[in-house]
Structures are given as structure tokens and as C-alpha cells.
Symmetry: D2
Subunit: 363 residues, 4 copies
């Protein structure tokens, strides 16, 4: 069953992988190889997930540190919140670099993965364009570079479909040539939850498998492969239509489950509309027990999570050759998110960049 | 219940509106104010839907003629199929113009509705840019215009969010000034089925309510308002996440329903994967009866279609401020579809444009 | 000769028209219908040119007020200078509106002229996109609009080559429909001097002839035609290759003329390189007298300004079907200039917009 | 003097370098290390320039073969001529590959140099996007590749200003990784003549110095550096404002020189306009002798070509920090030229691509 589960999961977020696992196997606890700490700063929820080898096996994510920032700044198009998000990202990134032993003089390479002609996949290329690049100045006119700046390069390797070259081979060739002291890889991710789309940034010290989120395993860009720190910065921008559906069914279950408990019997009529605040409180504890589940959703309710998803997947797959979807407003979301991330990276890499300036560099 | 139903339906396609209605109310038949004829040409399915006043009331679409072209040309990125689709569109459009009494010399105005910065909404503006515009030549250098061309103008009025002006007011001002003999309005639509996204073109002689597909009723652009023929050309480019889910649940029901009938009892194990061909054959007749429905989906299965959708809507709405989604590959789909439609319009309006040339005009 | 002169002049700037006139006819003085005042604020040179009917006849520009802001902010890509330029523009615009009797509650329409697919002509459309539009809020949700904002709409009418419709007709139709209290028209201009490209903003209360700068007279958008204040905001983005050449020849003449006077005889060898500061001081007084001119440039030197330009024009015209050129860096220049102008307009129209916010609105 | 001359020359075209040299030093002949042959096909002028070591020294271009295609297809926006140009380019490219020993199975890498955000410099990146890439198919699904196709990859290394990395280093890293059998490099060039802008394609077997045309020497991409055939495809898209002026002055001189000879004395009045056909016939033989030159242009006329240009350069340089200009219509020209070149490359590399298809691949 684990097998199937893994096949079905289409998430690049360690946080989601952990949540799904807990949900499916409530006997497991955080202490089984995955540690989770939460924090909140300026309306931004920060979750630290540490995965060890046991946890890696359990949740299907590589051992290492994952930091997740959650904010509605982009979806609400709130420029002040976006500036905050950049600042928090800057701070987290700076700390992660320190933890990985990167000092203030070391030379960085920013790699923007993705296809700049497919908007939900263009986050990496857009960030690269907004990153403050200085390595040529250090090379050619070192006297012109002020204190507080380090040598930074930025590349956009493209995708195999348009270059004909494995992304990881391209990146390999560039790293061998440029020989940076550390690498930051930016990529668009897949999530299994529509509420995380453009609302979550995941940092990690585990590196990246280009394309791993959408099923095609390629070679890894990581500390193991290159012997230098590799930080990945990812944002979910697409969601599998299958997960929209299973989420919905889960919520239906929880919704009836809670009513069940509250009223000791499910209402036959439609419940009052769930408002956003109520919804927040629906948790796994609201899931009905097996018997209740069957009452609510019949035979379907009796299936395990994995079986339910497998069934929905089988049902939906024929409906379209590609079921990854993205919100209608994708253009504006990606543009704003690229701005937030580039500003965050610029602030983290160049202490000399003042906040206001970081914004204008990445305009 | 009709009320609720209408509130929930988010489709701009008469074809879908009719299908949904039949499904919900199997006692109704095609003869109740809606006539449907099908045809197939070069792998393109053409459906003619004629709605009279009774049908209009019943399915919630304005009385008139609707022609729907269905093709996978765009989604398969098949350039030959796309050229075919342009040709078929040209022919249908030419015939519709004739039926509406437009002769070969009359002056046309093409209006591309939508927001060119939101890709799934940019179809109209992209088509306008590829339309072969000639009216200024007729005005300024009539001697340079060859036979087989008519006077055509093309405008992109923008959207209220960026202009501050009601789209219909803007169009009104332009029509009053330009005084065309007929109008073709191109717009992106909402569908309730993910398989129709970028795979369907709807022509109609009923005009258009800018924005009607996404809930906000605005003033109409139609023969009634302007006294001249108004043809609308629309393509569904977004789908409500709610409908993805309800479709899935319907299919689950049908799937179990069929198994039920076939085995006299539902399988407890997962059924073999439904392949695309099998799926095609799942019809409304596969829907289980009420009792079976309850067995399959419990209380949920007992809800009416409308109640189910209402519930799913309530559950999903809080998850994101906007749940209209579009396929990840939206950029390429819209570009290709704009090319197909502009080529079709150019061929229909200017008999002098040869097929090959029609392609190159709209490059 | 005036005739020819006017034919040759390809400038939309009143300042240049006045300078050229003074140069050609040194007996004329500022008092003959054209008043010029200069000012400097934050490295930005502000010139106020007032033209009366006599001056209009003399310099070929409509009677009215012209305000010219000169700054290297864009060409130097200096974001601080650009913010200053926006502020100064805001102030001048606000004052001009007051002088024209526009009060703080009156409703404005911003019109962005030009072709958004031809970058040096895309300034208008780019500005329109960055203007803070509010009229739909005043219409639909007046209670949500804070103090300090007025009703503003913004439109991009396109160009005749792509719409088939005279720009002024399109604008007319929209104004008739929207009925604003005043109009601001933004357009890219032609200059006759390469140093003014993207370095000059001209405000005027005289309205605009769409396309007048490049030879094709069309209908006017002005107070006279609509009975409401019309302010034009223009930036030269292209220069005629002819004027690059005549400027160069003028500078050669001045250069030798000055040497002549200084050494009493021209040097036979190359002079030391003219540095930018030296050059600034070359003025019309450095122009050699007729005899000297002949010595320096032979027969060519004896031609009048108009004859020289006519000759150069005849020589260059066959070299290319279109000789309007723009700097290689046009994409970045236009983007930044659009940002500056939109920020300036937003600040002028909405006193409630704080400086920092004005920037972020127009990002 | 040669020194200065070379400093001033800003052309990447061997043809121009040769012409300029002949002009300046009429005693030199084609036989001194530079062979020139001309041809014409479908309105396209083809010039073959072969430079040996002696010629390389003389004209400042590397020894090798240069093929120049001249056509007004782009500037006239004539799609039929453009299709012809693609076909001729295909043929020349195929022959050049054969001459360099490349067989039909060998694997190619197309490198698009330039900055895709600066339109006149974006030719390389735009071509890369339209090239038919197949190497990943040969790698992953070799059975799906039809006969008549070879393995082709395509990369866009970006420019140092945005990556921080020397373009040649980036290309080096990629070549080392991909190990192609041959390379085609596409780049935008500088010309010294405004009539060649977007009207000339230069092929060469000498490789390329990224950025050499605009003054900044960088490392070479050539057969010498990589041991594999390197073909460069270049199109002049910008011209130095200085050369516009010196060209104009040359034409003025020639114009008066011819009149002189024809009338035995120069006309004092303006000559009748030179029409394009007349102009074509103005040649170096029309240049007046030294005495006449002085009469026509005075002291200026007595300066050598190099001195004249040096003077004009000194005069113009302060006028703007960057004097490379491009035609106003640059966006459309570059888009169309990229289409022509990509179609030409696709046809040359894949014999299996039929003409019509080559067009649609690169749409």
C-alpha cells in the first residue's frame, strides 16, 4: 500500500508529505524520524521540519531540513505583506546559509529551473532575472564593488523539452565551469492542496531533483553530488486535479463527521455554509470512524485514503491528457512571487543591500 | 431548486447547459424547446443547438443558434488538425453570417474581449491582434484593396478592472463611432467540464454578456441592443474547481452503478482501471437508483445533484478566494487557439484570402 | 524657406521648435510670441515655454503652455533620480490641472496612445497599465473608496494600423461614452536631437494630434474639440536619422568656428577631443560667419540650415524605407519611463496616494 | 592610421570590412588575401568572401569563409520573400556543413547568443526557441525518431550582465557536457551601414567572439578552441550613430564630386533629389579629388576618412552614453528574422523536415 500511496502523492512539500502520512497512519508520531516546529512572524507561519533517515523512509522525502513559510501575501495581492514575506525569507535564508557553513565572502550561484514560456513553471527563470548579479564585477572591476556584497552569478538552464539537454547535465556543466562555493536552486513545485498554491515557500538544504515533483526522476542537484551546499527554494504553483477532488471528499467527510458528533446523528438537510473560520477548525479528529464513514459515504467511505485516491485518479485520468491545473490568475501570482523571492535572496546574499534597495533591484 | 441549480451552473456553453438539464430532469426531452443535431467533419464534431423561448427558460441560455466545434487539435498540439479546425470554423462562420443576412461587402468589427495580462482570459485580445484589418485601407487608399476583401476593424476594449469602464459601455462608444454592419465578439468562456477546456469553440448568433460566464452580469452586446448582427465566438479556457469535483463524484457513482448492475453487487475491491474507451460509455443510464446511490455514497449519494454541488461549493469556497483553474499549459493553448480562430475569421470575412495566406496573416 | 524648414522639422517638442527657430533666424527674440523660463529642481531642469498666436505661427507649435522636464534618470538607470522625476512630474501636473480649473473631485480619463507591439511607441499603453484606475469603484462600491482619491479611468485605443480605426475617432467614441471632466493623453514623441531621447518629458495644455510628430496629421484631441481640459504628456523616444547627421555637422561647424576665433586660424590637425563639458559650451555664437563657414565646410558650409538638411535628407532617404531610430536599450528605457510617468500621474490625481505607495501601485 | 581606423570600424561583417578597406586604400585589390564572388538567387544577393592570413591582417577579419545573404524580405515584411530567404539560407548552411565535414548523422548544438530582454540583441535567444530540438528524443525514445532527423540541442547562455558569467565560459561548460559534433552560433551583429540592418545574414566557418562587434573582446567559440566545426550565423541589428553620419558625409561628397565632373563646376543651388536608383550608382569613383574635396567640404573635406570619422566620433560621443541605434520597428524585424533563421536551420539540419513543416515548427 505504501507503494501505491507514494505513486499517488504528487507533492514536493515535506510538510504535506508528513501531514498525509500522519493522517493515513495515526499511530505514527512526530518522533518517528520527523520533527516539526511551528512559529509565526508578521502573519507568516513558519514551520521547521527536520527529517532523519527513518523519517525519510516513512514520508518519502529526503533527510534534511525543510522550512516552510505560509502567507496569503501573493493571493491577496497585498504589497505590504509581500515586503514582509521577503524580509522573513531573507532572514531564514541567511540563517540556513550560516548553518550550512557558508560565510559572507563565499561565491554563490542562483539557478532558476523551469520553462519561462509556461507561466506556472516560469518562477525560476523570473527569479533569476531579478537576482542582483555581481560576479562579473568582482572579476573585471573588483574595485567598484562596495562592502556588503558578495560574488553572485545566476543562470537559467531551461528545460529538456526546449534544449534537448537534461537540466541536471546543463547545471552540472555550468557548476563545473563556474565553481561556486554554494548554490541556490529556485523551482516551481507541485502541491497536493489548492490552498498552498502560491501561498507557500519551502526552503531546504536537501538539494533538488529537477522535475521530481511531476513524476519524472532526473539527476539530483545536491550537496552529495557537488560537495558544496545546495539550498532549494520552491513554491507550489500547480496542483493535480485529483487532489482537488480528494481534498473535497475529505472535507465532506470531516464536515459530516463533526456534525455526527455534535448532534449524535447527521443532519439530513444541508448544513449551514461552512465559513472560512469554521473550516480552519476541521481537523483530522473530525474524521468519522469507520462505521460513520460508511453511513456518510457508503462503500466509498470504507475505502482507505490510498484506495480512494487511486479510484479518483482512475476516474479522472481519462478526462484530459494532463490534469495539472493552476489558478486563472497565474500570471500576476508568478510575477509577484518572483519579486518576493528575488528580493529575499538579494537581501540574504548581500548584507549591503538595504531593504528599500532590495525591492528596487528586483523590480 | 432551479434557482440553486442556475446559481451553481458555471458554464457559458449551451451544449453543456442542455446536457446538464437533461441529466437532472430525465423526463425532459430535446423537443422541449431545444433542438440538437450532430455532425462530424475531419475529426471535428459539430453540434448545432437551436434554443427557442421555451428552451431558453428551461436551460438558462438565450434563444438562438449555437454551433459547437469539438476537437483535440489544440491540446494535442497537432498543427494539421489545427489548420483543419480553422477551415471548418471559417465555413461555419461564413454560413452563419449569410443566415444573418450579412453580404460580402458589408463592414465588420471584431471585438476581442478579455484581459490580455491574464493568459486564460487573453484569447479575445490575442485574436484581435491576428485579425486581418482593412477598414483604414478602404478609407484612405481604396484603390489598393484587392477584390475578395471587405472592410474589417478590430478592437480590444480591455476589462473593467484595468480601464475602470464597463466593457459594454466601451464597446457601445466604439460601435456608435465606427458604425459597422455587423460585429463578431471573441471571448474566453468558463466551462463546467475539464475536457472541454481549449477543446471546444462555440459560435452563436445570440450576442454576448461580457463576463456573464463568471457570475457578473453586465450589459449585452447583441442584435437586440445594436440592431445589427452580432456573432459571438467563445472558447472555454477555465473551469470551476467545484465542477471538477462534482464531475469526479458523478463518475464514481456511475462507475459503481454499472458494476452493480453487472455483478448484481458492487465489488468491494478496487475495480480494474477504467480506460478512456470504457469511460466514454459511462452514461446517465449508469447512474444507480436512489437506494443503490445510498449504498455507494451513503447520505451524500442521497442528495440531489444540486444539493451535492451546493455542498461541495460550500466546502471548497473557503479554500481559495478564486477557484477558477486552467491547465498548466495555458500559454501555449491560448496562443494556438488564437491562431486557429483568427485564421478562421480571416478566411470567413475575406474570401480573397487563400488558405495558406490566412495562416500567414495571423502568424 | 519656412515651408521647407517646417517640412524638415521632425520634432514634437516646443522647446526644440523654439531653439531651432532662434538658431535659423537670430534676429528673432523670445519676446516674439514665445516666452521661455527655466528652473532647476533636484537635478531636473524645468523649462516653461508659453506660446501665443504670433509665436505659434513662428515656431509651428500650437499656442499654449509647454513644460519640459529634462533628466538623465532613465538613461543612467538611476532609480533614486527616477523617483525624484516622478515627484517633480506629479507637482507640475497637479499645478497644470489647477491652472486649467480642474478640482480635486473631478473625474479623469487617461488615454495611452501608441502601439504596444512597437516598443518605442509603447509608452502610452505601458503607462495606462500602471495608472491607478478607480472609476469602477466609484460606480459600483463608492463606499469602499477612501478620501484623497478621485474617479479615474484609463484606455488604450491602439493604432490605426492594427484597429483599422482612426485613433481620434476611437478616443472620440470613448470620451462621448465616459464623459470625463478632463483628459490626460500620454504618447511617445519624435525629437530632432538624440540627447533628448528618453531624457525629456513634455507636459502641455494644448492637447494632441495623434501621430502629428511623424508626419501624418490626424484629428485633434484638445480642449477645443471636447470642451474639457486636455493635458498631454509626451516623451521623445525616436529620432530621425537625418537629424543625427545635421546635428553632427552643426557641431563640426561650431567646433571649427570656435577654434577659428581662438587661434585666429583653424588648426589643420585634429583638435583635442571635445569633452562633454566643453561641448556644452558650444553655442550658436560659436557658429562661424559665412566666409569662415565656407573655409571649414566649403560649398556645403554656405548652404542655409534648411538647405543643408534638405540635402542630407535627400541623400539619406534612399538608404532605408524608414529612418526613425531608437537607442538599442529601448526596452528598459520605455519600461522605466512608463513607471516614472504612471507614478507621477497617480500622485497628481490622487492626493491620498503616498509617495511610497504611488511607486508600488505602478509596479 | 590603420590603428585608428580599426578602432573606429564597428562592423561584424567581413563584406563591409573588405569594402571599407578597398575604399580607403584603392591600390589594394581583391587578390590581396580576400576573394569575393557574387551570385543572385530569387532576389537574394549572395556574396562569398574568402579571407586568407594576408587578407585577415589587411581587413581585420579572421581567415575563413564568409557567406552573406542580402534581402529586403524582412524590412518589406514580405512573407513570400522571407520563405525564399529561409530556403536559400538552408541550402547555404547545408553546403557549409558538408564543406566542414559534418555528415547527416552527426549531433548538433545551436547556441543563441544575446540578451532576450534587449530586443535588438534578442535574435539568438529567439532563434533558439524556434529550433527543432530532438536530442532528448534520441536519448530517451530513439525508436520514436523518424528518418531524416538528427540529434539537435539548443541553448541560450544569456549575457554576462545578467548571469555574471562570461558567455564563452558558459558555452564552454555546456559544450564539455553535451559533447556535440558541431556547433551553430547565432548572434545579433553591429553593422556600419544602416541599409544592412535586418537585411543581411552572414554565415561563417570562423566561429565567433561573443561581443566582439561592440568593442569588448571575449573568448572565442571556434573550431580552434573546441576541435569541432563551429558555424556562426549573424544578422546586423544595430548601427553606430557615428557611421550614419559618416555615411551621409561620404554621400554628400560623392554627390558633389559627380556634379563637379558632369558640369565642370558645382552647382550652387540644390541639386534635384537623388533618387534611389541614381544613388546606387554613386561609387568611390565619384569621390572628388583632394582639391575638389576642399572646395566642397572645406577643411573637413581634406581630412582622411579615418580623421573624419574620428572627428565625428569625438563630436557625437558626448551626446549620449550609448550611440548604438536600431530602427523603430525593431520588434517585428527581430521576430520575423528569428523565424527565417530558425526555419533555415531546421531545414539544413533535418532533411526530413519538409518546407512547409519547417515553417510550422518554428512558428
Amino acid at each position: 500500500m505504501k507503494e501505491k500511496e507514494k505513486f499517488i502523492v504528487r507533492t514536493d512539500l515535506a510538510l504535506e508529505a508528513q501531514e498525509m502520512n500522519v493522517k493515513d497512519d495515526p499511530s505514527s508520531s512526530d518522533s518517528d524520524g520527523v520533527e516539526v516546529h511551528e512559529n509565526e512572524k508578521n502573519d507568516i507561519k513558519i514551520t521547521y521540519v527536520t527529517v532523519d533517515e527513518i523519517g525519510a523512509e516513512r514520508i518519502g522525502k529526503k533527510a534534511g531540513h525543510y522550512i516552510t513559510l505560509e502567507s496569503q501575501a501573493i493571493r491577496k495581492q497585498d504589497t505590504k505583506l509581500q515586503a514582509n514575506l521577503s524580509k522573513v525569507l531573507s532572514g531564514q535564508l541567511r540563517k540556513l546559509l550560516q548553518d550550512m557553513g557558508v560565510d559572507e565572502k563565499q561565491r554563490g550561484l542562483v539557478v532558476g529551473l523551469g520553462n519561462h514560456h509556461i507561466t506556472p513553471d516560469a518562477l525560476g527563470p523570473w527569479v533569476t532575472e531579478k537576482v542582483l548579479v555581481t560576479s562579473h564585477l568582482f572579476e573585471l572591476q573588483p574595485e567598484t564593488v562596495a562592502d556588503g556584497y558578495r560574488s553572485v552569478s545566476a543562470v537559467t538552464p531551461g528545460v529538456m523539452g526546449t534544449t534537448g539537454i537534461e537540466t541536471s547535465d546543463m547545471v552540472h556543466g555550468i557548476i563545473e565551469e563556474v565553481k561556486p562555493d554554494f548554490v541556490i536552486v529556485v523551482d516551481a513545485l507541485a502541491s497536493r492542496s489548492i490552498d498552498r498554491i502560491n501561498a507557500t515557500i519551502q526552503l531546504s538544504d536537501t538539494g533538488i531533483h529537477p522535475g521530481s515533483g511531476v513524476g519524472n526522476k532526473r539527476k539530483e542537484i545536491s550537496k552529495e553530488t557537488y560537495g558544496i551546499p545546495v539550498i532549494s527554494v520552491g513554491v507550489p504553483t500547480v496542483v493535480d486535479a485529483v487532489t482537488i477532488t480528494s481534498d473535497a471528499i475529505d472535507y465532506v467527510l470531516k464536515h459530516f463527521g463533526r456534525e455526527w458528533r455534535e448532534k449524535d446523528a447527521p443532519s439530513n438537510a444541508l448544513s449551514p455554509a461552512l465559513n472560512p473560520f469554521e473550516r480552519k477548525e476541521l481537523t483530522n479528529e473530525d474524521l468519522p470512524n469507520e462505521e460513520q464513514s460508511q453511513a456518510v459515504l457508503g462503500m466509498f467511505g470504507q475505502l482507505s485514503q490510498a484506495e480512494k485516491k487511486q479510484l479518483i485518479k482512475e476516474v479522472l485520468t481519462p478526462l484530459g491528457h494532463n490534469l495539472m491545473v493552476t489558478p486563472k490568475e497565474v500570471d500576476g501570482f508568478i510575477r509577484d512571487m518572483a519579486h518576493v523571492i528575488a528580493t529575499g535572496i538579494n537581501g540574504a546574499l548581500h548584507p549591503g543591500v538595504e531593504d528599500g534597495e532590495a525591492q528596487s533591484y528586483s523590480r
